[in-house]
Every structure is written in C-alpha cells, then in structure tokens.
Symmetry: C2
Subunit: 330 residues, 2 copies
Amino acid sequence: MPEPIFTPIEIGLTAAIVAVEGDEPAILVAGDGGRDEPRFGLPFGAFDPLAHRTFEIGLRSWVEAQTGLRVGYVEQLYTFGDRGRHPRPGDTAPHVVSIGYLALTRAPEDAAALRSAGAGFEPWYRFFPWEDWREGRPAILDKTILPLLADWAAQRDPATPLRPLGRSQRVQLCFGATAGNAPWDEEKVLDRYELLYEAGLVEEARRDGRQVALARASLPALGDPLRFDHRRILATAIARLRAKLKYRPLIFEMMAPEFTLTELQRNVEAIAGRHLHKQNFRRLVEAGALVEPTGEMLAATGGRPAALFRFRRDVVQERPAPGLRFGGRG
Amino acid sequence: MPEPIFTPIEIGLTAAIVAVEGDEPAILVAGDGGRDEPRFGLPFGAFDPLAHRTFEIGLRSWVEAQTGLRVGYVEQLYTFGDRGRHPRPGDTAPHVVSIGYLALTRAPEDAAALRSAGAGFEPWYRFFPWEDWREGRPAILDKTILPLLADWAAQRDPATPLRPLGRSQRVQLCFGATAGNAPWDEEKVLDRYELLYEAGLVEEARRDGRQVALARASLPALGDPLRFDHRRILATAIARLRAKLKYRPLIFEMMAPEFTLTELQRNVEAIAGRHLHKQNFRRLVEAGALVEPTGEMLAATGGRPAALFRFRRDVVQERPAPGLRFGGRG
DNA sequence: TCAAAAGTGTTATCCTTACACCCATGT
DNA sequence: ACATGGGTGTAAGGATAACACTTTTGA
C-alpha cells in the first residue's frame, strides 16, 4: 500500500455543554451581541497538540479558561467534516474539521462570569421545538412540519436508486408519522434534524446553498438556527444523551448534590422530552439502588414535604449498566 | 469569546474492514512483508478535503482504489488523537489525528487483488484471543490475564484520587472477574483492551514508552499487536459491531445473498464471540421477520438438507430497530 | 441402521406496564 | 376541610430463557 499524502487541516473542538436550569434543559451558547445571523453558536476552540495530550484535556482547558465552567462528564460525539456545512469567508482549501463533544455540568448559580465571556445557557428546545413532548404532542408537528415533509416526500427523489429508503418511508420512520407502526422515538433527534436539513426546511440548509426543493414563498422557521453546523452537533448531543441516560447515571452530573425524587424525575423528563410514569420511575430508581436518602426533608412548597436523596457514587462499581431505564409512556 | 487559533494537523482515515470467512470474523490488514514489527496494521489513507466532500466518500474511494473492495456499510467510530499513541520517526509537532471507521463487506472470493496490494484478511481473534468464547471460556484468561491483572491491581495506583474507580474494581467490571455480580459482557471489548494497555500488558503500551508497572522478566504476549493505535481502533470496531448487531440487521452485509439459518447463526456467533441458543435464535429471526425462504434447499453436507433464506431488505422500513436481539447464554 | 445436522413445541420466570389508592403538610 | 404534591401495593401481559424431542438426509 502506498504511503498516503496528508493535507494539513485545522481541527476545532466544538462543545455541547448541557445543564438543566429549573426544569429546562439548557445548552451553553456564545453570542457576540452582533447583528449577524444566526445569533448563537456553540463554544469552540482549537486543538493544540503541543499544549494538550488529548482532545479531552484540551477541551476542558479552554472551556474553563473561557467560561470558568468546570465540566464534569465529557464524551466525544462525532467528527464532522462536510464541506459546505462549515462555510467561512473566502472558503476554499483550509478546511476545518470539528470534533463534537458532549459535556455535562450543573447549572451555575451566577451567570455573571459566563455573560462577561459573551456566553450563556439557553433552553435547548428553542432550537428543536418539535422535540419537547412534555406538554403533549407539539403543535408545530401537525401544523407545519408534517405537511411540509409530505410535500417534499411527494416530489420525485433524484437520488432514489442511491437511497435505500424512499422519502415518505424515511419521514414515517423518523417522525412516527400518521398511523400505526412507528411511534415517536425520542432518540432519533439527529435523524429528524438531518431529514429536515435534506428537505431544505431548516435555515442552515438554505444558508449552505442547498437547492431548496420546496419553493414556497416563505418557509416558516423551524426552530432557531445556530452558526455553522452547530445545530447538527447539538442534535447529536441530545440524541446521545437521551439514549445514554437509560443505561448510565449521567443525570446526576447535572443535579444538585441533594434532590427530591420529583426533581430527579423532572430533570430526566426535561432531557427525554416527555413525561414519565411516576410510580414506575420511582421503582426503577429504587430497584437500581441509584440513590440513598439523606434523612433530610425539603420544606414543602405547597404540599407534603419530600425526602431528599443523594446519588450513590458506588453503584458504578456494583452493576454493569446502572441507568434509569425509563420505558413507558407516562 | 476570542477567535481560536488553529494549528495545522493532518487527518488520516483508518478503516476496520470486517468480513466473515468460514466461521471466522476477519479484519483487513496491510502488512508489507518487511521485518519491522508489528507486522500488520489497518489500512489507512489521507483525507483530502479538496477531492472528497465527506470523510465517508473519501474512505470508500481510497479503499476501492487500493484494494478493489467495495465496502457496503460504513460508520464512523471515533477520532483518536493521543500524543504518544501514534509515534512517528522524528515526532514532535506535525500530528496525525486518525478518524476510525468501521466498514463491512462480504468475504471476497479471490484474495489475489488484495494480496497484490499487500493486504489480506486475518482472523480478528489473533489480536484478541480472550474475546473468543465460542469454545468456552478462553484458557488465556485464567492462566495469564487475570493473574497479571491481579498483580497490577494489588499495586498502589498513583492516580487513585483522580480515578473514580479502584483498579481491582475496574478489572472486575471489565473482565467479570472472580465471582458473582459481574458476568462477562461481550460488548466491553474496548474497555478490556484499554485496561490491558494501562496495565502495560500489551505490547503497544511498552512500545509507547509507558512505564510498565509490572516489572516481570518477560511478559507473555497477549494477542498479536498492530501498528500505531490500530489495535485500539479494532477493539472499538468489534465493540460497536457486537452492540449494533442486536438492533440493526448489519450481519447481512457480511452474508452471501442466500444462506441457511445455521450459517446465519454461525456468523453472528463469530462476531459475538459466543454460542447462541439455537431455538431461541431461530425464533427471534422468525419473529423479527428478517428473512424469507427462497424455496431452495442446500445440498446436505452430511445431514438433513437446510432451507435457504434471503434477507428481507424491506424490514428496515417496517420496524424501528430490526436486529437480532440474541440474549441468552447458549 | 446409524450418525449428523435440521427443525419444532411447550413451560416457567421475570420484567415491564398500568392501574388506584393513601399520606403529610399549608392555607 | 381541602387542595397540593409525596409516596405506595398489586395484578395483567408480554418478552425471555430454558427445557427435550422429532425429522430428513448420506454413508
């Protein structure tokens, strides 16, 4: 095999830093107050192989330097390198590859340090309004998204022989459309976003110069856009987090050290984007022995006082996959 | 937030190309016959952003150019960038980041094209002998690996306060050691390899100049090494494949178009590295409606003739997670 | 007629899901 | 006393895991 020839490329680490702020899942965004659109992007920094031994160390270091945030859990998501998805002024050769990371932290008590760095936490459902099923099926689905996707699916797909699945089948699979067989799967966040991108229904697709298949006079905005391909990275982060919550105790990275079971459930619901069955949730927590009572009680806020719990750090040693395998509807 | 400064870095795509050859899972390796050690490495190529729009397209392109192989399924695994894990002559600054990929293909009928490119398929268990439980628990575990790990675990861990878990607990968790609570989990391939690396028990760790905690006169080789960090990438590939087989019909990417149910089971067992329960396996295949009979029979090879089946490509449209969720022991 | 591999039928058990009710506090 | 949220027990259904036996061919 011949020696490959390497082209120099720049590597950026892009971080999806997640916290839960009062029942709302939130993502750290940097917005420089300027008038340029989109207003927000995820924080990112260069990877300097001379200064840092691994990507993860590099990431932690610039996140803390720039925002003062100490992230707990860090996990690599995916490496994105599509040309055309990360356009920069005068873009031709020097190419930026972005390695997306998921990082978890607790909601900071005071956001002053963040604000002074031009950053702040934003509820993530403003970027994905169709992913929040906590108050029932989001209206935007039936009112806007599914009709537009139906139009798109009705058009001839120029890539049909290349694509294993037809358009309407993909819509069905991702959005659990219309009837019967495929219900909503809250983990398919990325698939849904990619489908909307391909159909030209999100602003990023138009910005990237994809020929918009649907030539409507004005398309309604489907969630707020983010800079570059950052909404795609966020979709990846949400999907991964929703999946992993079920078999890893990641939720506690975002909880206060002590909490009530209802707070725990609310936070899981915030991430999962749907309601959970109260009794079953509590049984699973108990069965998994994930928490232990502190003995304290929380002063009631208009009802019976709740017992406080803390995470049992040693479960990780005991059981192979200690997560909150929440299943049913709610 | 300040504009980050990018350091130019080289990007290599490293491919773990998997096939099953007569009941043995095999990985495509390139070995240039030279006397330098290790003999084999995974095939890799540069990513040229000017020539290829995405990583995946780039990967398919050089794989086909170099080996004539048309890989079917392709999936990104992980991006590796540790310094010290990819040493090159005169190594300081120009750093190679390798994006690992998993690719699946059918065993080629004739290996001539491959051989002329200096490549070929090798059974993957020669690199991970402790991962093959098809003939029962591998002897190397109790005879070599676990005693060495026990020694290592008995030593003081200099990083104890940083590590969430103690050494012996990690051994227990990864290898389902000694007794009771944690059984062998065939998906933890990467965790096991990383632990062996950290304990200095695989050749790559010594080559990378890690201080070998165990100063034994001569350590027995634990599986054959691969160049650079390629054994780690292969471990990632095996782990991902073993996990994904359970909820995606990936196995058919590596099967002939027509096959008997026993062949199907043998191939799944080859990947999973353990025996499956025959009746339950067949029931799962049937329940999942993954295959349909061709009506043909296979000329018997010393027994009752078996019915031939083919993969039903349209299951993907019907069910959300059509895999072979094999569970039990066997 | 015997070896070798293909193929089938049934039951016990656990986990998931869903149900409806009681308890402790503040107003 | 009643509204509000906290907390529990129990039964139906389905999926999983384990069991042993019959059938069809070639030698």
